[in-house]
C-alpha cells in the first residue's frame, strides 16, 4: 500500500515512509519519544488541557471529544485506574488501526505513555482483535523495546511514575469493540456490554476508573503535544479539527489507508487519493463510515465533505472513517443482505430488541433467497429497524437499524425489486 506524498507532514503517518520505523532505534532517530520526554516535564493537567483545546474527537467511531472524556476521569493520581487502548477494529470496512500499528507501533506506545502520565494510570492494555495476531506480535516486541529503554515499568526515566503496558488479544467478536463490551472481555467474560452510566471513566475495568481510547486517538497525542493544539487545528473545521485516517475499499483503483485533513471532500478521496473508480465505472453509492453508517447516493457522495458535521447533515455518520465505494454494477439488495447477516451474527444476545431484531431483519433476506419475500417486506424491514432503535444497552441494534433505514430511504425501488427477483441457481 502506498501513502500519498503529503502524508509526511501529517500527524499520524508521518513516520510511515521510514524503512524499519517499527524498531525503536529508528523511530527515535526520526524524533520518536522526544515528545514523551518533554511531556514528563509538563504538568499533567496542562497536557489534558492541550488535548482538550485540540478538539481531537475519538476516532473509534463515536467522535466524542477525547479531552472532554479525559475530563471525566478522577484527578486523584494515587487512585488505581487503567488506560485501555481499543484496537479491536472490527467495524466492517475499517483497517486503519491495523495499518497504523503494523508499521509504526511506537507512535501508539508513545501516545499511551503520554496519556498515562496525564491521566496517572498505572496499568494499560492494548485490546487487539484476535485476528490481528501478527500485529499483536509487533506490538509486544515494541513494548519490550520500550521496557528495555526504561520508557515503561517502574519509575520511568526517574520521574517516580510507574506505567505497565500489555497486549491483550480478543478472540473474534465485533461487540468487544464497544467499550463496555471490551471491558467485560478484558475481565475474562463474554464480551457483553454494560449499562451506562456509570461510564467506564468512573467505573470501568474491575469496577475501577478506566479510560478507553481508540488507537488512532492515542496515536495523535504525540503530534498534538509536540506542535500544540493550535497547529492541530490548522486542519479540518472548528467542530472537526485535525487529520483523520480513512480506510477505503471497494470499487476504486487504489484501495488503502490515507491520512487527510478532516473535511477533505469524498470526491477528492475517491478521485485523487484512490485513483478514481475501478474499470472507469460510474459511482453508484458510498458507505461513508463503516457498515453502520447509512449509505449515500452518488450525488451526496460527490458533494460531501468528510467531517463529522457535514456527513451528519447529509444523514449519515463519519464513524470510523471506513469508506466502502460501490459502482453501478452493484446491487444494493446484496449489500444490505451482507450487512444484516453480519449484525445478526454479532449481536451478543443480551437485549431482546437486538437479538430478535437483527434476526428478523436478516430473515427477510433468507425468505428472499427461497423466493418467498414480498415487496411489503421492505416496510417490515423499516418497521422492525425503527422498533430496535434506542431500546438496548449498547448501539449494536442502532448500528443494524440505521443502515437498513438509510438503504430503504435511498434505494427503496431497487430493494423492492431485489426481494421479489427470481433466484439465480
Amino acid at each position: 500500500m502506498k501513502e500519498t506524498a503529503n502524508n509526511k507532514d501529517y500527524a499520524l503517518l508521518s513516520y510511515h515512509h521510514i524503512p524499519g520505523v517499527h524498531n525503536l532505534e529508528i523511530f527515535e532517530r526520526a524524533g520518536g519519544y522526544e515528545t514523551m520526554k518533554a511531556c514528563f516535564e509538563k504538568d499533567p493537567e496542562a497536557i489534558k488541557e492541550e488535548v482538550k483545546l485540540s478538539g481531537l474527537r475519538g476516532r473509534g467511531g463515536a467522535g466524542f471529544a477525547t479531552g472532554v472524556k479525559w475530563g471525566f476521569f478522577t484527578k486523584d493520581r494515587k487512585a488505581q485506574k487503567y488506560l485501555l487502548c481499543n484496537a479491536d477494529e472490527s467495524e466492517p470496512g475499517t483497517f486503519k488501526d491495523r495499518y497504523l500499528v503494523e508499521k509504526n507501533p511506537h507512535i501508539l506506545i508513545e501516545g499511551m505513555i503520554i496519556s498515562a502520565w496525564a491521566l496517572a494510570t498505572q496499568k494499560g492494555y492494548i485490546y487487539i482483535r484476535g485476528e490481528f495476531y501478527q500485529q499483536a506480535v509487533i506490538l509486544e516486541r515494541a513494548i519490550k523495546e520500550a521496557y528495555a529503554k526504561g520508557y515503561l515499568g517502574k519509575n520511568i526515566l526517574g520521574k517516580g511514575f510507574d506505567f505497565d503496558l500489555y497486549v491483550h488479544r480478543g478472540a473474534g467478536a465485533y461487540i468487544c469493540g464497544e467499550e463496555t463490551g471490551m471491558i467485560s472481555s478484558l475481565e475474562g467474560k463474554k464480551g457483553q456490554p454494560k449499562l451506562k452510566p456509570p461510564f467506564p471513566a468512573i467505573k470501568g475495568y474491575r469496577g475501577l476508573p478506566t479510560m478507553v481510547n481508540n488507537v488512532e486517538s492515542l496515536a495523535a497525542i504525540p503530534w498534538i503535544m509536540k506542535f500544540g493544539a493550535a497547529a492541530y487545528k490548522q486542519w479540518g473545521t472548528e467542530k472537526s479539527p485535525g487529520t483523520k485516517l480513512f480506510s477505503i475499499s471497494g470499487d476504486v483503483n487504489k484501495p488503502g489507508v490515507i491520512e487527510v485533513p478532516l473535511s477533505t471532500s469524498l470526491k477528492d478521496i475517491i478521485e485523487i487519493h484512490c485513483g478514481g473508480m475501478r474499470n472507469g465505472n460510474k459511482l453508484k453509492a458510498v458507505i461513508p463510515g463503516g457498515s453502520s453508517a447509512p449509505v449515500f447516493n452518488a450525488e451526496d457522495a460527490y458533494t460531501v465533505k468528510m467531517d463529522y458535521e457535514d456527513v451528519a447533515a447529509k444523514g449519515s455518520m463519519l464513524g470510523s472513517g471506513a469508506i466502502i465505494v460501490l459502482d453501478e454494477t452493484r446491487n444494493m439488495g446484496d449489500v444490505l443482505k451482507w450487512t444484516l447477516e453480519f449484525y445478526h451474527h454479532e449481536s451478543c444476545g443480551q437485549c431482546t430488541p437486538c437479538r430478535e431484531g437483527t434476526g428478523w431483519l436478516e430473515s427477510v433476506f433468507k425468505r428472499r433467497d427461497k423466493g418467498l419475500a414480498h415487496k411489503a417486506d421492505i416496510d417490515l424491514l423499516d418497521r422492525t429497524a425503527n422498533s430496535m432503535r434506542g431500546q438496548t444497552i449498547c448501539a449494536l441494534a442502532d448500528a443494524a437499524a440505521m443502515p437498513t433505514q438509510g438503504m430503504i430511504k435511498v434505494f427503496r425501488q431497487e430493494l423492492e425489486a431485489y426481494v421479489v427477483a427470481p433466484i439465480k441457481k
Binding site: 467474560k189 466502502i324 451482507w338
Partner: protein
C-alpha cells in the same frame, strides 16, 4: 470424548501462564490469553481442557464454556491443524468472497470448521477481518492472504502441510 483424556500445560506454557498472571490484577482477567495458550497447545478446547483450566484458575467450568462458545476463535469442536478464515463481509463479498468460501468447501469436500479427512484444513466463514484493501481475503492460520480468486485460494491451501 473419552473421560480418561488428560491435559496439562507443558513446561514452556506453564511458564507463559505464570507470566500472564502477573499482567493482571485478578486471575479471571487472564482467561482469554490462557484459552489462546491452551488452544495453541491442544488444537481445540474439549471438556478435559476446560476442566484443567477451571481447576488451575479456580473459575467454574460453565463460565469458561460460556466464554469459549461466545468467541468465534475458540473452538469447542475438533479442528484441523490449519485454520482458514474466509471473509464474507461487504467488501470481500463484492469481489467474490462468498463464492470462494463455497468453492473451497466443495473443493475440500467439507463443511464449516469440519476438518478435511486428512486433518489438514478447517474452513471458517468469518465476518470482516479488517483487511478490506486485500479483498477478497482470507486468514491462513495467522497470516492474511488477499486479492484472491478461487484458483489462487485453492493453490495457497494445497501448499499447507
Amino acid at each position: 470424548m473419552s473421560t480418561t483424556e488428560t491435559f496439562e500445560f507443558n513446561a514452556k506454557n506453564m511458564t507463559t501462564y505464570k507470566e500472564y498472571l502477573t499482567r493482571y490484577d485478578d486471575v479471571e482477567s487472564a482467561l482469554l490469553p490462557v484459552l489462546h495458550l491452551a488452544q495453541e497447545q491442544n488444537g481445540w478446547l474439549p471438556e478435559h481442557v476446560v476442566s484443567y483450566i477451571s481447576k488451575l484458575m479456580n473459575i467454574p467450568e460453565i463460565k469458561i464454556k460460556g466464554v469459549i462458545s461466545f468467541y468465534d476463535m475458540f473452538y469447542d469442536v475438533p479442528v484441523a491443524r490449519n485454520i482458514v478464515h474466509v471473509c464474507t463481509n461487504i467488501t470481500c463479498s463484492m469481489f467474490g468472497g462468498r463464492e470462494i468460501y463455497q468453492g473451497l468447501l466443495t473443493h475440500f469436500d467439507t463443511g464449516y470448521l469440519t476438518p478435511t479427512r486428512d486433518g489438514r484444513i478447517s474452513l471458517q466463514k468469518m465476518e470482516c477481518l479488517g483487511a478490506c484493501e486485500l479483498a477478497p481475503c482470507m486468514r491462513v492460520n495467522n497470516d492474511f492472504v488477499g486479492n484472491l480468486d478461487l484458483t489462487s485460494a485453492i493453490q495457497k491451501l494445497e501448499e499447507l502441510p
